[in-house]
Amino acid sequence: MAETKGFQSAVDIPAEKAEILARPLEERDDIVVCENVHKWFGDFCAVRDVSMRVKRGEVVVIFGPSGSGKSTFIRMINRLEEHQQGSIVIDGIEMTNDVRNLDAIRREVGMVFQQFNLFPHITVLGNITLAPQRVRHMPRGEAEALAMQLLERVGIPEQAQKYPAELSGGQQQRVAIARALAMQPQIMLFDEPTSALDPEMIKEVLDAMRELAATGMTMLCVTHEMGFAREVADRMAFFDEGALVELGPPDQIFNDPQEDRTKMFLDQIL
């Protein structure tokens, strides 16, 4: 695939997976399989009966009013929240209470947060190399080379030796993306990555995400950047009151929403 050179050069893809990625979307395997997932906080039902399958290399944008359970849903995909009913299978690994499964899944899944959550006490380079070195036991030179490569991809190699607090919000978020990619995940989760940013910084983060999508990375993004969604998403999912109300390609969602709630919400924000 010609357009996969970007991030892929830093991340090796096993041959059989590259082969899968070469197929059209419909023929690829499901990398995320959620069946009837429920989650309660006390008596409050935050996510109710959500079933969703995501193909390898697919980009899904999740949107919906605040408090609709979309963040909770993607946080369940790497077990930052525990689901209470239903099943979640990531790349063939069932999410159970088994620690080994969980560790494997966490390595499969990278995440970018709204508040960046960079480690303030170590440098940008240290932030990126920490996990590869400690978890994957990657030699330092290799880890640093990888980090520099990733920083170059997100466009800020010159900031490597700085501390996170010395960077702008957009730069921090790009570091966060690089940090997540350093573990060579199969799936990337984005939890409103741009909503804590100033408008001019949003673009640089979205650009990084666009480029990442172009490499064939499986992405689940909670975002309200509808332009980005229209351009990049393969499918869009609308959440309301904890339920998955509508799931479909962007064209359908924007032009012909099946549900009234979706339409109403889109009318409000567009």
Partner: protein, 490 residues
């Protein structure tokens, strides 16, 4: 619009008591082990301690000399003055209750309960003192009445003082008990069979019946009291005299001055014969020393803090030395030095009582810590404030006094309460200079009396309990203030 489906109920194992147990106690195997070990440990401690307290311990040493522990050698004829001080405090408490309902209510309940207990407890006590103690309950109500409502009206006055609150409390407790138990039963239903099941439902029903019975008493009582209270409310609002913060502050200051006069007495006024400071002892002296230590150390501490921030090198160095020396040495060495050095610095014919020497030492000690608190509070004020003040044309000292200091002081209210707690604990060291505070009174009771020489443990446990009740209440208040002011988390 699509009809919204009712939210599905969470699985039974994740809610109610069972869910709670699972989540909080048995969420993983290791967690379950910890729970079991801790529960066993706890049970062991409780059983042993309980057995000792109830069976083995001999509490005569406490019961036979309660007044000594509380007020020391304060003359019996003047006890009524102390009980009047207590009444004043009750009024202040009532005022606080009205102005700051959430926290002060609990204290009013607690304080009232203690007064009720002591007032009714069958031990040797003159009826007049009993009456004065019981009078504290209406006194709280009086304070409550004399203060305007803060926004929404809380429980009515009469309701509060005459049992309405009690009945509603009972009511709430019973309902809570019943629902809690019933939900346990419901959660366990599938796994309960036969006798166990019948037993559980029977118990469930019994609790519900009990709750209904309590309701039958409590609700009419509450409603009966609520009506006159509501009728009286407008009149009471008119009677509220502490209607502004300034008036409330005045009331507090007046009450404190009167308290002091009552405690120490005035020469020549009949009925107010002066009490030798030496004779003020027990818990009373701990409280007085700590309270006046804090109050008097506030201005000195502010002065020292300003001195430390000052640009005058001599003043600055002097303040730094004072603060660091005092903070760098243990209080008992300071107390010792005060016994030997302070009298030397005073005029020869001025024979200052050691109570005052201790007071001075504790105040100086506390002011060094206070200075650091104040400095910290002022440092936390945003520099923009001072810049804005300068831009308005205020001079340096005006900026400090009018802008930085007030904001800084507001920041340190929790710190001041914290310091009060530690100072209160530290006053237990005045035994070192021979004052009969609570701890020393305990030692003396044990040592000076052969029949009690084996009862040290009882005495120290009692003293620990008294200190604990005070310190814990203070830290509770402090946390509440912190929450209310939103300081402490920046």
């Amino acid at each position: 619009m699509t009809a919204r489906v009712a939210a599905p109920l969470p699985p039974a194992t994740t809610i109610g008591p069972v869910g709670w147990l699972r989540k909080n106690l048995f969420s993983s195997p290791s967690n379950s082990v910890v729970t079991v070990v801790m529960a066993i440990l706890l049970a062991w401690i409780v059983v042993n301690l309980g057995a000792w307290v109830v069976v083995q311990a001999d509490w005569t040493v406490i019961v036979s000399r309660v007044p000594l522990y509380i007020v020391g050698l304060y003359p019996y004829e003047a006890y009524w003055r102390l009980t009047i001080c207590l009444l004043l405090i009750s009024v202040l408490l009532g005022m606080t209750w009205r102005a700051w309902p959430d926290t002060a209510r609990r204290f009013s309940y607690g304080f009232g309960a203690i007064m009720l207990f002591v007032g009714v407890f069958p031990h040797e006590m003159a009826p007049v003192h009993r009456a004065l103690l019981l009078l504290n309950l209406p006194a709280i109500g009086l304070g409550y009445m004399l203060t305007p409502r803060a926004g929404e009206s809380g429980p009515g006055l009469l309701e509060a003082i005459a049992g309405g609150a009690l009945s509603s409390m009972l009511d709430r407790a019973a309902v809570r008990l019943a629902t809690a138990w019933c939900s346990v039963v419901r959660a366990l239903l599938p796994s309960l069979y036969g006798v166990a099941f019948r037993l559980a439902t029977a118990w469930c029903r019994a609790v519900a019946a009990l709750s209904r019975m309590l309701d039958r008493v409590a609700i009419p009582l509450a409603t009966a009291l609520r009506r006159p209270a509501r009728a009286l409310a407008p009149a009471l609002d008119r009677a509220a005299i502490f209607s502004t913060p300034r008036r409330m502050l005045t009331a507090v200051v007046v009450a404190l001055v009167v308290t002091m006069i009552l405690i120490l007495g005035i020469d020549g006024v009949p009925g107010l014969d002066p009490v030798a400071p030496q004779d003020v002892g027990g818990l009373l002296i701990n409280l007085l020393l700590a309270f006046f230590g804090i109050v008097c150390s506030l201005p000195i501490g502010i002065g020292l803090a300003l001195g430390r921030r000052s640009s005058l090198p001599v003043v600055k160095v002097a303040c730094v030395i004072f603060i660091e020396v005092i903070r760098g040495v243990p209080l008992i060495t300071l107390l010792f030095m005060s016994r030997h050095i302070l009298p030397l610095t005073l005029p020869e014919d001025l024979n200052v009582d050691r109570v005052y020497l201790a007071g001075i030492t504790i105040t100086l000690f506390s002011s060094a810590y206070m200075a650091e608190n104040v400095r910290g509070g002022m440092a936390a004020v945003h520099p923009g404030q001072a810049e804005a003040a300068s831009a308005l044309g205020l001079r340096g000292w005006q900026t400090t006094l009018l802008i930085n200091l007030p904001q800084g002081l507001r920041n340190i209210i929790p710190a001041i309460v914290g310091q009060f707690i530690s100072l209160f604990k530290d006053t237990s060291l005045v035994y070192f200079i021979g004052m009969l505070d609570l701890v020393e009174m305990g030692r003396v009771s044990v040592q000076g009396n052969q029949e009690f020489i084996d009862n040290g443990r009882e005495v120290y446990l009692f003293i620990a309990l008294v200190f604990w009740v005070f310190c814990f209440s203070m830290s509770f208040i402090s946390r509440r203030i912190e929450g209310n002011l939103g300081v402490g988390r920046r």
